[in-house]
């Protein structure tokens, strides 16, 4: 073997097109951080536009990946084993997280302009976290997976605590940080157990070797499989790792809460899908029942807590969205659990992907309208939404539509059919009891979503004499916020007309 060949086998060739989406996000993030040092105070909004452009570019780079599966960072010894894969699953999830980050960025522009948050740090952290979240679905070994999980999470802690001098914000960040770090530590322990049992970190290799684990190591492998799931379950906010959610959402700036509810969850369930379906299919008897129970508990806990929100309490709207997102996480887990009961696990998880796409669009939309209401009612009570239709008819209609999508009731057709695919996955897998639990939860959720929807259209309370200036012109809604509401509403309406656009993922093999 000549020396040049040996050198070539040491230096991997990197497929830059394949890794473009997370790379662009990361590079732009760094660029913004550096640029922050040189941009004068008055020109800070420029950073926001650079970040938006970066995220758009990252999204656009996904177009290059549509032609077929790409793999890179492969083992020099075995070209079939790679750490980074850009297959359909990766592209769909990257679309979800990058679009989610883009909408979060749109929501963030105005609070940053009003100097509520430090601009340079904010954009850097948001883009870094988005880069991590975009890396995660492409990761095909446990080390990269954990690194991606951390890259997505660490900036998120800082984002939550970014409001300077706000006690609730720092408390929320600390709570989030401590519980998250614990979960990640447990995951690392699980990964090390799995490594000890199999001697490899690559997911496909792990899957192959787990089928033939030495008898003595069986228990170790089993424990490793269970522990690995913990960190990801935490990110999805599954019971019993859900207590951080409401306080963190309230403490965090509203756009960050929106980000956590969509991108944070996407990180969690993507990781869960990768480890369960790709790495541990032979241990389905361990994780599938556990996930099924987890799904049932999560949706029940989230929905029951959301049901108990009092309209008059401070931040009750965000609190309700927080708990409802816990409930929705339960539905997202159902197809993953079902995957453990069917012959080809990769088939079932498409329902999760389809549901997540629907959820991402409408939940971000709901947060966008919440951000709009927060401009005039910073306490964001549910009662502040009373008579929204009279003040902002289109925003009220949009929020009503988003809530009905989340509830799964016409005219939110996409929400209904996304739920149907999840039901279908459960019934297909023979998880009849889970389908029934989910049905009950859907009804509970319908109750509070509808109650909120009804409030929007109620006549505003008679408080005219209290107002100092009765005919004060309503503050113009800033363009980025309008754009965010419009984008999510259009996405929801188009999907309701043509649900096949997302539901097709539920019938195709994504890996």
């Amino acid at each position: 073997m000549s020396s040049t060949l040996a050198a070539a086998s040491l230096v991997q060739s990197v497929d830059w097109t394949a890794v473009a989406p997370p790379t662009i996000a990361a590079v732009v993030g760094l660029a913004v951080l550096v640029a922050d040092l040189f941009v004068p105070q008055g020109k800070k909004p420029l950073l926001g536009w650079i970040s938006l452009a970066g995220l758009t570019a990252a999204l656009a780079s996904l177009l290059l990946l549509l032609d077929g599966d790409r793999e890179t960072f492969c083992l020099t010894s075995d070209a079939g084993v790679c750490s980074y894969t850009a297959d359909r699953f990766t592209v769909v999830i990257q679309l979800l997280v990058l679009a989610g980050a883009l909408l979060t960025a749109l929501l963030s522009v105005t609070p940053l302009k009003n100097k509520e948050l430090p601009a340079g740090e904010y954009w850097f952290l948001l883009l870094s976290s988005a880069a991590g979240a975009a890396l995660l679905p492409a990761s095909r070994d446990l080390a990269t997976l954990v690194v991606a999980l951390e890259v997505a999470s660490l900036p998120a802690f800082a984002l939550v605590g970014l409001r300077r001098g706000d006690r609730r914000s720092s408390e929320a960040a600390l709570k989030f940080f401590l519980s998250s770090v614990t979960a990640t530590a447990v995951t690392l322990l699980g990964v090390s157990f799995v490594y000890a049992a199999t001697g490899t970190l690559h997911l496909t290799e792990v899957a192959a070797k787990l089928t033939a684990v030495d008898g003595d190591l069986q228990t170790l492998a089993r424990t490793g499989v269970a522990l690995t799931l913990v960190g990801f379950a935490f990110k999805t906010a599954a019971v019993p790792f859900h207590f951080w959610v409401p306080d963190t959402y309230i403490g965090a700036p509203l756009p960050v809460a929106a980000y956590l509810s969509v991108v944070g969850k996407a990180v969690g369930f993507t990781g869960l899908i990768l480890v369960t379906v790709v790495a541990f299919p032979s241990y389905a008897d361990v994780w599938a029942p556990a996930l099924a129970v987890l799904a049932a508990l999560t949706m029940t806990a989230g929905n029951v807590a959301a049901l108990r929100q009092q309209a008059g309490r401070a931040f009750s709207a965000v609190r309700l969205l927080a708990w409802s997102s816990v409930g929705q996480a339960g539905y997202l887990l159902v197809p993953i659990a079902a995957a453990g009961y069917v012959d080809d696990p990769a088939d079932a998880i498409g329902a999760t992907v389809a549901y997540a796409l629907m959820y991402a669009a409408v939940n971000l939309g709901a947060f966008a309208v919440a951000a709009l209401v927060a401009r005039t009612a910073p306490e964001n009570r549910l009662s502040d939404y009373r008579g929204l239709y009279a003040r902002h008819p289109l925003a009220a209609l949009a929020l009503g539509f988003f809530l009905l999508c989340l509830a799964g009731l016409p005219p939110g057709i996409i929400g209904l059919f996304a739920k149907v695919t999840v039901f279908q996955a459960a019934v297909d897998a023979g998880l009849g009891w889970l389908a029934v639990v989910m049905a009950l939860n859907v009804v509970i959720a319908l109750y509070y979503y509808l109650r909120w929807t009804a409030v929007l259209f109620r006549a505003p309370e008679d408080e005219a004499p209290v107002r100092a200036v009765p005919h004060a012109p309503a503050r113009a809604v800033p363009f980025p916020l309008t754009a965010a509401i419009a984008l999510t509403a259009v996405a929801g309406i188009v999907l309701s007309g043509a649900p096949q656009m997302v539901l097709r993922f539920s019938e195709t093999v994504l890996f």
Partner: protein, 524 residues
């Protein structure tokens, strides 16, 4: 009757389903120049009349173009793939079972729009009212026209939001609670129904109602059928409503505005019984056979319960609400429909479908009349209305009184009017139920149900005596007789009640072949 090409028929049916939705969207937009009318409110109410009128004409033309020699075959069918991932197809079609319901829905909605044009219910802007009314119409018509299980579910759910807002925004006292109760009961039922529909779809591999009906349950094991019938049956029974799942109905009716009550009783309840006939009977006959005796038992209890509740409300000093009384009478009438379905015989099912239509016409008329009475006197409290001797409508407003009496006797099933045939056929069906069903049990049900007709007659006559008769000199209050627009809105219902009563073959000729085919599972 008249020859219309198939593509025009397809277009008509698609227009009937989608037209009101487009109309609803248009209602929210500002009126175009030239159609502004006297005021925005008037323009939008007129828009409602126009759209529902067009839909009614389309429905009538569809009925005329319908091949009456082959009512058992699906006609005007459209079949387009919509969501391949779930195998959901936009599959529309009408046969002898759905055609009368389509026409009834289009007619009642048009009459409601017409009535509202002259007598807008008190509440917020008519713009939203018209839009919601049109969405409601679209959902109801779609329920009767679609041939795909998931699409059926979608249409079934589509009516909830508009009906909720119609009650909650334009209703009377206690409207918020009543609207909540309505939507929660129905949702609870329909989520269970969705599970049942999915079970059928997944186990048989198709959501297409025609394919499933042709299969006649052969692709499904008995245990799957039993679970599916239980799940779907609960959802449909809430809507119908079947005793003991009926308790949302009286509240909803009492609180709803007049047109809301008319549509609720006239067409929304029919969606439940239609589902029984269209889905459960042909798709899961084995499961249905298991539950038929129970269904019949509940139906009979409903008949007696509804009648007794009405008797209690009609009693002097009970402070009975007239709207609530008619709502309870609906529970009784729908009991006959369910009994007819439970017999699983062509006679019984035909009776059920006939009673469906008859109830839509008669109860629609009664709710119109009671609503108008409330507008005139300000109350629906029977005691307040009747006073010591009676409201004396015959004396004060003779035409109004006569029409009310007409509605009441039609409702109690006087031979010669529409109410008679459906209930009699349902009882006939129970006299000789399907072969695998216990005849003694059904004979008992028949006897009890027949007793129920007596009770119905009793309370209806009490109502007539207390509202229409009486001493005019007791309270010499002026009461306007029937106005022109009321005459226009009510006459069609009364005329059709007489027509269906005198010429039942008009309807039975349509439904019978289709029912025979459904029960035989596509073999006939």
């Amino acid at each position: 009757m008249i020859d219309i090409s198939e593509s025009v028929m397809q277009f008509l049916l698609a227009l009937i389903v989608a037209g009101p939705l487009i109309g609803a969207a248009a209602a929210l937009l500002p009126a175009p120049p030239g159609l502004k009318g006297e005021s925005p409110d008037q323009a939008v109410l007129r828009h409602g009349v126009t759209v529902t009128g067009v839909i009614l004409i389309a429905a009538v033309v569809l009925a005329l173009g319908f091949d009456h020699d082959h009512p058992a075959t699906m006609q005007a069918t459209t079949d387009i793939s919509w969501i391949p991932a779930l195998d959901v197809r936009i599959h529309l079609g009408v046969d002898g079972i759905s055609l009368p319901l389509l026409v009834l829905t289009a007619l009642l909605t048009f009459l409601c729009a017409l009535y509202s044009y002259f007598k807008m219910p008190t509440g917020p802007s008519p713009k939203a009212f018209v839009a919601l009314l049109l969405v409601l119409e679209s959902g109801t018509l779609a329920t009767f026209a679609v041939l795909d299980l998931l699409l059926f579910f979608l249409a079934f759910e589509m009516v909830l939001i508009p009906m909720y807002f119609l009650i909650a925004r334009w209703g009377g006292a206690q409207r918020a609670q009543a609207a909540w109760k309505f939507i929660l009961y129905t949702l609870l039922g329909s989520v269970v129904m969705l599970l049942g529909l999915l079970l059928i779809g997944l186990k048989s591999g198709t959501f297409d109602m025609l394919a499933l009906a042709t299969d006649n349950g052969r692709g499904l094991t008995t245990s799957v059928q039993v679970i599916a019938v239980l799940a779907i049956g609960i959802g449909l029974a809430v809507k119908t409503p079947m005793w003991p799942l009926h308790s949302w109905l009286p509240d909803a009716h009492t609180a709803a505005p007049t047109v809301g009550s008319v549509l609720l009783a006239g067409v929304l309840l029919k969606m439940g019984t239609y589902g029984f006939v269209r889905i459960l009977l042909p798709v899961a006959p084995d499961g249905m056979r298991e539950f038929a005796p129970y269904l019949a038992a509940f139906a009979v209890v409903g008949i007696i319960y509804g009648s007794l509740a009405c008797l209690a409300l009609a009693k002097q000093g009970a402070k009975g609400d007239l709207k609530r009384l008619i709502a309870y009478s609906s529970v009784g009438h729908m009991g006959f429909v369910l009994l007819g379905i439970a017999t699983m015989t062509p006679t019984g099912v035909n009776g059920a479908l006939f009673a469906n239509i008859a109830h839509g016409l008669i109860t629609g008329l009664l709710f119109f009349l009671v609503g108008a009475l409330k507008d005139r006197t300000g109350t629906t409290d029977l005691d307040a209305l009747a006073g010591r001797t009676g409201q004396a409508l015959y004396g004060k407003a003779p035409r109004f009184g006569a029409l009310l009496a007409f509605g009441a006797v039609a409702s109690l099933g006087l031979p010669g009017l529409a109410g008679f045939w459906g209930e009699m056929l349902a009882l006939f069906g129970a006299f000789r139920p399907a072969e695998d069903l216990s005849r003694p049990a059904f004979l008992t049900f028949m006897a009890i149900a027949a007793f129920g007709t007596l009770l119905t007659a009793a309370y209806m006559l009490i109502v007539v005596r207390r509202v229409c008769m009486g001493d005019t000199t007791e309270r010499p209050q002026e009461l306007a007789d029937i106005q022109g627009y009321e005459f226009a809105a009510w006459t069609p219902l009364a005329a059709l009640t007489v027509l269906a009563g005198l010429w039942p073959a008009l309807l039975l000729g349509l439904t019978d072949p289709a029912v025979q085919k459904l029960l035989a599972g596509g073999k006939a």
